[in-house]
Amino acid sequence: MINWFRTVAAVALSVSVTGAAVAADKVKVGFVYVGPVGDFGYSYQHDLGRQYLQKQLGDKVETTFLENVAETDSARAFEQLARSGYQLIIGTSFGFMEPELKVAKSFPGIKFEHATGYKRAPNLSTFSARFYEGRYIIGQIAAKMSKTHTVGYVASFPIPEVVAGIDAFMLGAQSIDPTMKVKIVWVNSWFDPGKEADAAKALLAQGADIIAQHTDSAAPLQEAEKAGKLGFGQSSDMSRFAPKAILTSIEDNWGDYYVQETKAVMDGTWKSHDTWGGLDAGMVKMGPYVNMPDDVKKMAEDTEAAIKSGKLLPFKGPITKQDGTVAVKDGESLPDKEILGLNWYVKGIDDKIPQ
């Protein structure tokens, strides 16, 4: 009888030991998304990054994700992953900052990464992408292509990333045509296709002939296509939604970063750090330049190359604020810390920043 027990116990033990052994040589990476993976925008791009990671590292890595996680309710999602044996946990929305920080403190042995925030811990890194670099390029393209000298801009929320995007867009546009005007509509949502479409319609009706957007759905671009005007894609290559209207897209590309960080966890070289990568690092990618004359395409490619090589800095002085004060002196450039917290418009924008 006792022997029988021993055998069972030994078998059980060996099973659990092998189980642990298998788990040990696989690195488990968990993602927490703020939206549904089917949004074809922000969360979708992060999930493409996850799939890329899975493909690159194959059976050396196991990935999973929690989607549509409410920001204020997200501590549980991070804890769930931490307690389920995930060694690298990645939160992709600014609103996850405090909950993720809290959970990271309770699990010092687990590595955490947080996108678009600024609070770090010994086991919590931050990362984001310099999307404003892409916006400088599309600003230049818009200035070349617009006949009415007016661009319509569908914006989500007045956070620094979006405001900096509008400024960079305008600086790019003004570098080509100082008379460019931008009309801005805030839809107060990252994702509401109907409202985004209505906003684009309003902008087109008021004389904009190019639509730029900082919201997630393809609806504004589609409205441009319907009206026979032009537009830009957001987050991914959206050309299939508007083959005639699209000029280029600003694509998010997280995959390489995820592979790099996962490898660092595998090698034991992972360290808490801040990454803010742009075109150069490949975190921001430009979609194909289409529906434009060759000289405009050439200009866009040149600008892209100049930004990549560091020759061109979108926030290089002299920059005047909307109220006429000097934001950046000639010969200087806006430091990263200020771009990260930007809350003023450059001169030439009529709108007021919603406070």
Partner: protein, 307 residues
């Protein structure tokens, strides 16, 4: 102001109002029979996903719209089994239907994320559609708009002018006497609920086939709730549903125009205008005729025949 802008604004308002009034007029019929279905958002989102999926696979907007409508009817049938067949609580069943619909639509739609279709073509009558200001408004909308308005006219006529409409109202106002008179309360309510589901499904497919021709999860973005509110707003009268939808759609669209125009008010303030306007309009209406418009007396109450 430039007449072209006026025309574009008017057309945009109608487009924004269309999914609202199509869904609301269906819910109105269900509520007139005495059944409160809070699952409009759920039926709409399923209609949006099924409508897009079928339209994409068959490459036909009409088939998509039909399938979207049918899926709304199916969802409503599920609801009817619960609240008519089993006398379950209507408020909770409707909310459960919405949760269920959000999940099901996501499962159905997951294979169609990132796919696109061309939007349904708008009507174009040479001459008439070219008229300034009103041309496109009256003669250049897409077919859903005309179908939706026809639906309202039909429902208005049905409720006030036909015998069957009288029966519907009788059931909604006093199911016990209706039953005593020999009316089949359950069957009439079933038909009304199925009609409401069909309308919600059609309204949902309008979103994914015309408004923004692609599928994405949660794309109804609360429009089902607005449709429910519009029925109350309209005090259960069909034409007022259209008025309410145009008011709400108008406030939504005009605040976007105000922003594009550079009016300089906080975006949050402007975004809340449609909701505040709805309440204000209702206050004004109530001021004029206090207690003038009551809900169907049996709204929300299950009917149990005592035998």
């Amino acid at each position: 102001m430039n007449p072209d802008i006026v025309q574009l604004v008017l057309v945009t308002i109608v487009t924004a109002a269309t999914p609202l009034f199509i869904a609301a007029v269906g819910e109105l019929v269900a509520e007139r029979s005495g059944v409160l279905n809070l699952g409009v958002e759920g039926m709409m989102i399923v209609g949006a996903s099924v409508g897009f999926a079928v339209a994409y696979m068959t490459d036909s907007t009409v088939l998509g719209a039909l399938a979207g409508t049918a899926s709304g009817v199916l969802m409503a049938a599920l609801f009817a089994v619960l609240v008519i067949g089993l006398a379950a609580n209507q408020v909770a069943s409707g909310l459960a239907l919405t949760i269920f619909g959000i999940g099901v639509s996501g499962l159905i739609g997951s294979g169609f994320v990132g796919q696109k279709r061309t939007a349904a073509q708008a009507l174009w009558i040479p001459g008439l559609s070219d008229l300034p200001i009103i041309g496109r408004l009256f003669f250049g909308e897409d077919l859903f708009v005309y179908a939706g308005i026809a639906l309202i006219a039909l429902v208005a006529y049905f409720i006030s002018r036909t015998r069957a409409g009288l029966t519907l109202r009788a059931v909604g106002d006093n199911h016990t006497s209706a039953h005593v008179l020999g009316l089949s309360v359950g069957r009439i309510r079933l038909l009304a609920v199925l009609f409401g589901g069909g309308c919600a499904g059609l309204a949902g497919s309008y979103l994914s086939l015309v408004y923004t021709p692609f599928w994405s999860p949660g794309m109804t973005a609360g429009r089902g709730w607005i449709a429910l509110a519009l029925v109350v707003f309209a005090s259960w009268r069909p034409w007022r549903v259209l008025g309410g939808a145009l008011l709400f759609g108008g406030a939504t669209v005009l605040q976007l125009h105000a922003q594009a125009f550079g009016i300089g008010l906080p975006g949050q303030l402007l975004s809340s205008v449609p909701y505040a306007a709805t309440v204000l309009a209702l206050i004004v209406l109530s001021w004029r005729n206090r207690r003038g418009a009551a809900a169907p007396a049996m709204l929300g109450m299950p009917f149990i025949s005592d035998r």
